[in-house]
């Protein structure tokens, strides 16, 4: 009842609808640009949210995530280039439909399936998040330390075949988190006499650098993707078609929720899994790959479900399971909001606003998606050379707004170079980001635990929650190691046979 009151206050007493629509619009536009993923679109928005009220900022970021998932399907269907990673599976049948002159129908199915997926994910978010977060009330410093370790163990499944590289990236992230003032003694560390570094390096600068600047550097010199060259209109599915899509959408919802809850899951895995399962359970599996409507519906439902379901571990325990949720965590931290039960108690308006804003954005997606399509098509047709200039200018202008400091621009550009070199050397990003955002929690809770025990490390074994979380982390890393060894052995065997 209390939450309902807050919802009414927000709905009628604040411009939450406006912020939802702006976030959604920005998400669709950013997602429709090939190479600009949902996380980059969100990272570009971060500097603008600094001056906003927390609820408005978080709503805008979450709605951007929702919009980007649909936006990514636009170039996937029209020019065979997914705007976001999670739209890669949509290319298979979406582009085939476009070749058959059914681009509008494919976009309509994508939009409708996105709405279904978002609504289902949102339902899961509302039902599961708060009960889960109450578990965190029993947390002590030892539990928080173990939780940080569990968060870092996400790295194991995000390393694309090299756990060692992922671990190295995470350690570098933890190193960056140690810059600034020591949380216990107040001594300065690695500031090199610079007052700008006393408060540490802001995660937002690192995110913008490694996601956005490095992406622009990677794309430098690449050719344009070619124009769409035709007028396209969204055609929403008929009632009979909606009925036909139900099975594949249901599969997308289930797998999207599962992957959203799983650390390291993410939209692209969910989309491909759903595509495969939808084909397996389809009455017309032979149509898959040849312009199947279900082949568009399943991955689009799944990646939109992930966008909401991935917020469950984030809001309950502060564990980001993907790049996009790591950026959202950055947004929460910027506004001094710590995920967990206290967020539900002390900042209920933010949580209710997030639910409400996401719901508004999900419903508005149909209208905004239809209205924005001509603009997205126009934008995708723009020469890449001009887009690169405009995006870099936006990044540099946006970062300056954070602290009106040119020093911040230097950090973001430096992190852009680090991100570029990491991409080139095959080092994953997320471990670095996780190290930065979880570093403070891991260090301060570890040292507080030892202060309480007088330096006795067995304190970690006396807390059942900590023990459980540490065991879970060990299992997680061990399973990933086994998988990595198995993959390496299979690759070797393949080489021998070749």
């Amino acid at each position: 009842m209390h939450s309902l009151g807050i919802a009414f206050d927000l709905l009628f007493g604040s411009p939450i609808i406006l912020y939802s629509i702006i976030g959604l619009t920005w998400g669709i536009v950013g997602g429709s640009l090939p190479g600009i993923s949902a996380s980059i679109t969100m990272a570009l928005l971060l500097p603008f949210t600094y001056g906003m009220a927390p609820v408005q900022a978080i709503v805008m970021l979450a709605c951007t995530y929702i919009g980007a998932e649909y936006g990514g399907s636009i170039p996937a269907i029209l020019i065979r280039t997914p705007g976001t990673n999670s739209a890669a599976a949509t290319v298979i049948d979406g582009y085939e439909m476009k070749r058959q002159g059914r681009a509008g129908e494919a976009l309509g199915i994508s939009l409708w399936s996105g709405v279904i997926g978002s609504l289902f994910g949102l339902l899961m978010l509302v039902v599961m998040t708060e009960p889960l977060s109450w578990v965190a009330l029993a947390f002590k410093p030892t539990s928080y330390f173990a939780l940080g370790i569990l968060g870092l163990s996400v790295i194991a499944s995000m390393t694309n075949g090299s756990l060692l590289k992922g671990l190295a990236a995470a350690v570098v992230g933890l190193m960056i988190a140690t810059v600034g003032t020591d949380p216990i003694s107040g001594v300065t560390r690695f500031t090199f006499g610079s007052p700008e570094l006393l408060g540490g390096v802001e995660p937002v600068l690192i995110m913008i650098g490694v996601f956005a600047v490095s992406e622009l550097m990677m794309q430098s010199g690449s050719k344009g993707l070619g124009g769409i060259g035709e007028q396209v209109r969204v055609r929403l599915p008929s009632l009979s078609m909606m009925n036909r899509l139900k099975r594949s959408q249901f599969i997308g919802c289930l797998l999207g929720t599962f992957e959203g809850l799983t650390p390291g899951g993410g939209g692209s895995i969910a989309a491909f899994l759903s595509y495969n399962e939808a084909r397996r359970w389809s009455k017309e599996p032979e149509k898959f790959g040849k312009g199947s409507e279900e082949g568009v519906a399943a991955p689009e439902t799944a990646n939109n479900t992930v966008a909401s379901a991935a917020l469950i571990p984030l809001l309950s325990f502060g564990i980001p399971s993907s790049n996009s949720t790591a950026v959202l965590l950055g947004g929460l931290l910027i506004h001094g909001l710590l995920p967990g039960p206290r967020l539900f108690e002390q900042n209920a308006d933010v949580v209710v606003g997030l639910y409400l804003g996401s719901f508004i954005a999900t419903l508005a997606q149909i209208l905004v998606g239809i209205l924005l399509l001509p603009f997205c098509v126009w934008l995708v047709n723009r020469p890449r050379a001009y887009l690169a200039g405009f995006i870099l200018a936006l990044i540099l202008s946006g970062i300056f707004t954070l602290n009106t400091s040119l020093f911040d621009l230097g950090i973001a550009l430096g992190m852009g170079l680090v991100g570029y070199l990491m991409r080139r050397a095959g080092y994953p990003f997320l471990p670095l980001i996780l190290g930065v955002v979880l570093g403070h929690m891991v260090e301060s809770s570890y040292r507080r635990s030892l202060l309480l025990s007088g330096g006795d490390h067995t304190i970690f074994l006396e807390d059942p929650i900590a023990v459980g979380l540490l065991i879970a982390s060990t299992i997680f890393v061990t399973l990933s190691l086994v998988r990595e060894f198995r993959d390496a052995r299979n690759a070797k065997l393949k080489d021998v046979h070749a």
Partner: protein, 165 residues
Amino acid sequence: MREQAALKDLAGGVAVLAIAGLYYWATGDIAESTLSDEVGASGLPRILAFALAGLGLILTARAVMAGALSPAHEPAAKSPAPETDDETSTLPRALGFLAFGVAYVCLVSFIGYLPAIALLIGAVALYEGAPRNWKTLVIAAGGALLYWGIFVKILGVHQPSGLFF
């Protein structure tokens, strides 16, 4: 191909070792406080430096075992570079792109936000292959005005001012 990947891994491993070494060296500057706990302000940084050094050693050793230093890759290195996305050709290009950002940071305090952002948009567009004509000039100037309008006029955010603006 495999040797190239191993060489890349070797470079990565050496870079990781270098970061660990530099970071450890910098931990020497951390002062000890009377308020400090048992672990101390430099406790975790030292552990991290050793952990990264260990990972760097393993990564380097793995790259060497994968053939990064074996002479077998030399003939491949002498063969003509493939036309596809080649790292040695894109690294200078990427650094060139980054240089525009650095130049903006250096210039903006002198010439002001509006001209600096126009120069940035125009220069990056030209670098990325936009035609050298009035259209690029107009787009750069228009873009600068658009950003100035959004940031300074609409959002009311202070941007660097220089000698002219």
